[in-house]
Amino acid sequence: MNGAARWAFDGLESGLARWASRQPRWALGGAALLGRTRNRLSRRWPSPDDVRALFPRLDPRAAARVAWSIGGLEARNRVLADCLRREGLDPLRPLVRGALPPLRPPLLLGTFHAGAVHALGPALERLTGPVLALRHGPLYTPRPPVEIVTTEGDDQRRAAVFQRALDHLRGGCFVVMALDVVPGAGLRVPCLGRTLELARGPFALARLTGAPIRPLVARWQGGGAEVEVGEPRAAGLQGEEIALATAAARWLEDYLRASPAETGLGLLRALLSEEVSPSR
């Protein structure tokens, strides 16, 4: 794809981002179509070969379709992130359908860079109890019972945030934080035949508080987003961070094998940057 085409795609995407505050359903749908087309023309980010490297059982045509879908997913997420920065959660709330299953705190909800990652906000507002969400650079100001704190800063600043999350869980509340694609040394666990580095913080919190971890993801479905909560596979394993992390990665692997088009680009890059595990 040449520079003019890239410029045109970027311009269209910016236009959709501005439109998203008034017509979010149509703008996000348009962004998905735009992203699919862009990926189909460029055959990059990801390429069908990238997809097959991670999901070798897909035939080339299926891998190409997954690559287009990931291109669409990324464009839709970019447009939504832009909209959230400008307008907050208001335009998104009507698009997130359904209720979460009954969840009992204290509970640590672990997110992955998969699917409609920015669409989780409205679902968190429906939780029955105070929610502390940890995020590297918040996109918007939430409304109660959700509070977002940033994990940006040095070790001492992050320790203060970690300390708050610890007290929150010990106080019988919800904590939400990303399990994957985080800076710093993490826990290396197998996933999709490769090695995935998960953040150590959530698993250390689970160890220190005894709170279970449940995976939390959202996916674009039709014109809206649906949220899925994984089973608390970590329950009963507290005390061993690596065992908890391995269980979380196994859940992610099952989820992505069933829905490879939900693999976020950051997650895909993280997995592809690691060598194939010997057990494959």
């Binding site: 070790d155 001492q156 203060a160």
Partner: protein
């Protein structure tokens, strides 16, 4: 009640158990940072150190040490000593 030097040594023992780079007292000056640029303790190790202090000395967890100025060996020892004197 423990005497101040005993408290100081107990705090330093905790530090040594949590920070691989913590060494003899002479190499742990009061102004040495516990985090990056000093002992290199990460955020989890810093919080676990505060939990250790709470448990071992029976003082409220000194979470305020994470706010404001960089946490140093001297700040930690002084805080524990003051909390135990109260």
């Amino acid at each position: 009640m423990e005497t101040p030097p005993v408290i100081e040594e107990a705090v330093l023992d905790l530090l040594r158990s949590r920070a691989p780079l913590a060494r003899d007292r002479a190499e742990l000056p009061d102004d040495l940072r516990l985090g990056s640029g000093g002992l290199g303790m990460d955020s989890i190790a810093l919080v676990e150190l505060l939990l250790d202090c709470e448990e071992q000395f029976g003082i409220p967890r000194p979470v305020e040490l994470l706010e404001g100025e960089p946490l140093t060996v001297g700040r930690l020892v002084a805080h524990v000593r003051a909390a135990m004197a109260r």
